[in-house]
């Protein structure tokens, strides 16, 4: 789960990471009230999970109440690279003497947290990494030992931070590492991390990604979900315990097992079709789960044909067939279905489908054959 900037800053604050004080707002009036309370000059910041907010006009400084109102009106509802701004964060403006970059990343390749520090803050770090890789100091931390003071010193000296802030920058990194571990984050990034004219270190931005699998340890974080950014169909699927990712095409896909579903999308694409979604019904799906999944797939009105690709291990072919029959009974879909059933109880499943004699349901013996058939049917319906 990706946090909004202000959610990340509130999380930082809990771990002693200095951040400018601020308030979230969902309306212009709330934003103005927040600005009055914080005092001027303050910054009005669009809260969307995408980079380049400043360039898009989503971050503005307000020197008085009129400006705060103008900026809030302009930014709320603004579209930033496809995302609508529903929330603002109003914070006190900071004086900046230097802009650094700091992050802690879950490095799955090295199987250790990676801490990075650079004095080239305030710009796209991937660009810095491409153009001047030596400008970024990097250090892996043994997760069983944790972040030590020497890690902070090494990074600070190697990155070449101003000598008088070596210690506070190291301390900042230690706090970011604490937050990373304590909150089960997979990414904690601060860009820019600023040095003020008073030589204080502050996190001026916050990008935090939390591990969904660890959410049971952090019930407060689980409530932070940015529902406005979630796709309604993806949310519906999640509530039903299905793994669903919406895509751009018109062929609905259902399969069991993440790998097989990904592979099904690929095979459909190779056959000239465009998948409308990824849907993993999971292992051991019962008939109700299948019925429920069909509802989710068909809730996307772009879907013109649906492909079921099941290789049963724990999942049983007869349960899948029963679920589909039930779905036809309840939802009465009008789009064609292509069904490929293999594995556990596949014959029984195919027999049930043949007996039910559902309208618009074709069975295919192989994955490749099923993909070609569904593409043909979707094109015919287009």
């Amino acid at each position: 789960m990706d946090l909004l900037e202000y959610q990340g800053k509130q999380l930082f604050a809990r771990h002693g990471v200095p951040v400018p004080s601020g308030k979230p707002a969902r309306s212009v009036d709330d934003a103005v009230a927040a600005a009055d309370e914080i005092g001027y000059p303050c910054v009005v910041k669009a809260q969307v999970q995408i980079g380049g907010r400043g360039k898009a006009g989503g971050i503005k400084v307000a020197h008085n109440q009129d400006e705060a109102r103008q900026h809030a009106e302009a930014i709320l509802g603004m579209d930033i690279r496809g995302l609508t701004v529903h929330e603002l964060w109003i914070e006190g403006a900071s004086d900046i003497a230097a802009e650094y970059y700091a992050s802690v990343i879950f490095d799955r390749s090295a199987k250790a947290p990676l801490v990075m520090l650079s004095t080239k803050g305030g710009m796209d770090i991937e660009q810095v990494a491409d153009e001047d890789p030596d400008a970024i100091a990097r250090l892996h931390v043994d997760p069983l030992v944790g972040f030590q003071d020497f890690h902070g010193r090494r990074l600070a000296f190697e990155a070449g931070v101003d000598g008088d802030v070596v210690r506070p920058v190291g301390a900042m990194l230690a706090k970011l590492y604490d937050a990373f571990i304590a909150e089960d984050a997979t990414l904690v990034e601060v860009n820019p991390m600023i040095i003020t004219p008073d030589r204080d270190v502050k996190a001026l931005d916050a990008k935090v990604t939390l591990d969904d699998n660890a959410m049971y340890r952090h019930p407060d974080n689980a409530e932070l979900r940015d529902l406005s950014a979630e796709d309604p169909q993806e949310r519906m699927a999640k509530e039903r315990g299905l793994t669903y990712v919406k895509l751009d095409g018109d062929i609905g896909i259902l399969g069991n097992g993440a790998g097989l579903v990904m592979s099904t999308l690929d095979v459909v694409a190779q056959a000239g079709g465009q998948p409308a979604n990824f849907l993993d019904a999971g292992g051991g799906s019962k008939a109700e789960a299948i019925t429920s999944a069909v509802e989710v797939i068909l809730s996307n009105d772009k879907v013109k044909a649906v492909l079921f690709n099941i290789f049963g291990g724990i999942t049983r072919g007869d349960e899948v067939a029963k679920g589909l029959i039930e779905a036809f009974d309840q939802i009465k879909p009008t789009v064609p279905f292509v069904v490929r059933l293999d594995g556990t109880n596949d014959e029984e499943g195919r027999r049930l489908l043949a007996e039910a004699n559902l309208p618009n349901v074709v069975t295919e013996a192989t994955m490749d054959g099923a993909a070609e058939k569904v593409v043909e049917l979707a094109k015919a319906a287009a």
Binding site: S109, A214, V245, G259, M262, F311, G343
Partner: protein, 293 residues
């Protein structure tokens, strides 16, 4: 021969008294696996259809000689259970549990690596099957027979799909290893490729990868340097959009990294044949084996 599990496997199941744990333990036993014990804290002294249950792994190892563990407990107890199994002297730990926090996996991985005593396969994996010898996990064994193709995969059902096409062509498997779809698998492709290279029964290796991470790229390097047997690969997720997790916690394209195209390219550059569909993988494997015969 085969790798990791065989007639000498003595399995102890953590979470054997749970619904799924019981079902699959007994299924593994029915297949012929020696399921010698189970562990459920507080249920020591009971049995599951004749399999004795112990409170701790230490008791189970001491009294039943278990050398392999299967972890079936819920995610919040899984890291603890893996570490307990290792502490008790278990040599091979197969973690089926899905949904373990990434930081738990990181700690477990590093602890096991530092101690160097136990091998972990999984978590979030379907287990290991050596057809005709032993099944540890949830792989539907009926679709596979004994043979000379080793399979290592990040995906369960995709493995069944490929194995089934091979079986239809008359080929069987030495061992099928599911390494799992999580960001920090206990064993990676290269660990398993190395075992297959050493296994006399295995004549060809199928590796089944997917988007996310760089395990396939590292496997490509490893194959070029250490594997003399033919390797055929499949990568799932060519159509996956960046930034979306495709079902497996580890299956996500981050920025320009972890794409299926990059992985396929890395493998092909190192002489590994990459099939574009599961069917094609099986066909390539069959043609290579046919040529070798």
């Amino acid at each position: 021969m085969s790798i990791l599990v065989d007639e000498n496997t003595k399995l102890c199941v953590s979470g054997i008294t749970g619904r799924e744990g019981t079902f699959h333990s007994l299924r593994n036993r029915d297949y012929g696996t020696q399921v010698v014990s189970g562990v459920t804290p507080g249920k020591g002294g009971q049995d599951v259809d004749g399999v004795p249950v112990f409170d701790t792994f230490h008791d189970a190892v001491a009294q039943t000689g278990a050398n392999t563990a299967m972890i079936f407990v819920p995610p919040r107890f899984a890291a603890d259970s893996i570490l307990e199994a290792e502490d008790a002297g278990i040599e091979l730990i197969v973690a089926i549990t899905e949904g373990i926090p990434a930081h738990d996996e990181l700690r477990v991985y590093n602890a096991l690596k530092n101690h160097g005593r136990a091998r972990l396969v999984g978590p979030n994996c379907p287990g290991i099957l050596s057809p005709g010898k032993a099944n540890v996990g949830i792989i539907p064994a009926a679709f596979f027979k004994q043979g000379n193709v080793g399979v290592v995969s990040r995906s369960g059902t995709l493995t069944y799909q490929i194995g089934n096409v091979l079986a239809q062509q008359g080929f069987g498997n030495s061992t099928i290893v599911g390494i799992g779809g999580d960001p920090v698998p206990g064993s990676d492709f290269i660990d398993i490729l190395g075992l297959f290279q050493e296994d006399p029964e295995t004549e060809l290796i199928v590796m089944c990868g997917e988007i996310g991470g760089d395990a396939e790229e590292r496997a490509a390097e490893y194959v070029a340097e250490h594997v003399t047997k033919p390797v055929v690969a499949y990568i799932a997720g060519f159509t996956a959009p960046p930034g979306k997790t495709m079902g497996h916690a580890g299956a996500i394209v981050s920025g320009s990294k972890g794409t299926a195209a990059a992985k396929a390219e890395a493998l092909e550059a190192r002489g590994v044949r990459v099939g574009r569909t599961p069917t094609q993988v099986a066909e390539v494997a069959v043609s290579l084996l046919g040529a070798a015969a």
